[in-house]
Amino acid sequence: MTDTTNNVPTVVVGWDGSAAARAALAAAARLAPGGHVIAVHAHEDIAPHVTARWQELLALDGAERSAELLREIPDLAIAGLERVHVEAASVAGAPAEALLTAARTHHADAIAVGSRGIGATSAAHGSVSAELLRTADRPVLVIPPTAIKDN
């Protein structure tokens, strides 16, 4: 299972531009000093019932929005970000699955994500963090809602 042949610390981060994602990015940078941080933004698959042309346009739109979000990362004032090599990946698909796949591909040591509250109140949301905590094959770092300072 653990054929960790690469010894460069690598952490995959779920990226959506939110305050929680920024906190996750900072935590990832802390976990992987001198290593790699892979910021992943997943854009959902397009409903199959729209026409082919629409699918094409929506996919373009999704990918473009995704790329836009990822482009802002290097300019963010996040402590420790300068100590890691940040790579951005825009992936089509459901977020949890996209993060798991990216983590496997990069032999990541952990996956870092924000949380919109996965306690009793919001268990029904089936959030990305909750899904990862259930299914991930490696450590998952979650930024709890109370850890996020308003800014």
Partner: protein, 137 residues
Amino acid sequence: MTSDTPRKTTLVAGYDGSDGAAAAVRWAAARTSPAGRLVVVCAAHPTAPRAAAQARAERARAGLEALWMTEEGLVDADVQLLVADAEPAEALCRAAQEAGADGIVVGRHHAGPFSANTVRQLLDVADRPVTVVPPST
């Protein structure tokens, strides 16, 4: 948290003597070494019978010692065991605040004091990152 970054990493890990918890402690220890600090928290519900709580603390102590013998990664880690009479989630949060920890690390398992339920509670109240480590890590 602070802009001038102290390079040392401090983590708090939950431990109850189980294999799942051992995975969490190993993972946390690897992230705090070489110069950081690891606080291992063994918590029993305050309602648990005294003898049971003591037995658990003893098991945790023995388990940790055994971990130290077998894991070379742990040898030079700065580790402290804290036995708490409190709900695990609460005990972990308090320990993390007192230690000024960068995060809290727990194992993923289905029963025992550091179960999924604890993780859920932890995510409701923790004010810093929580890492959940699966058993096979």
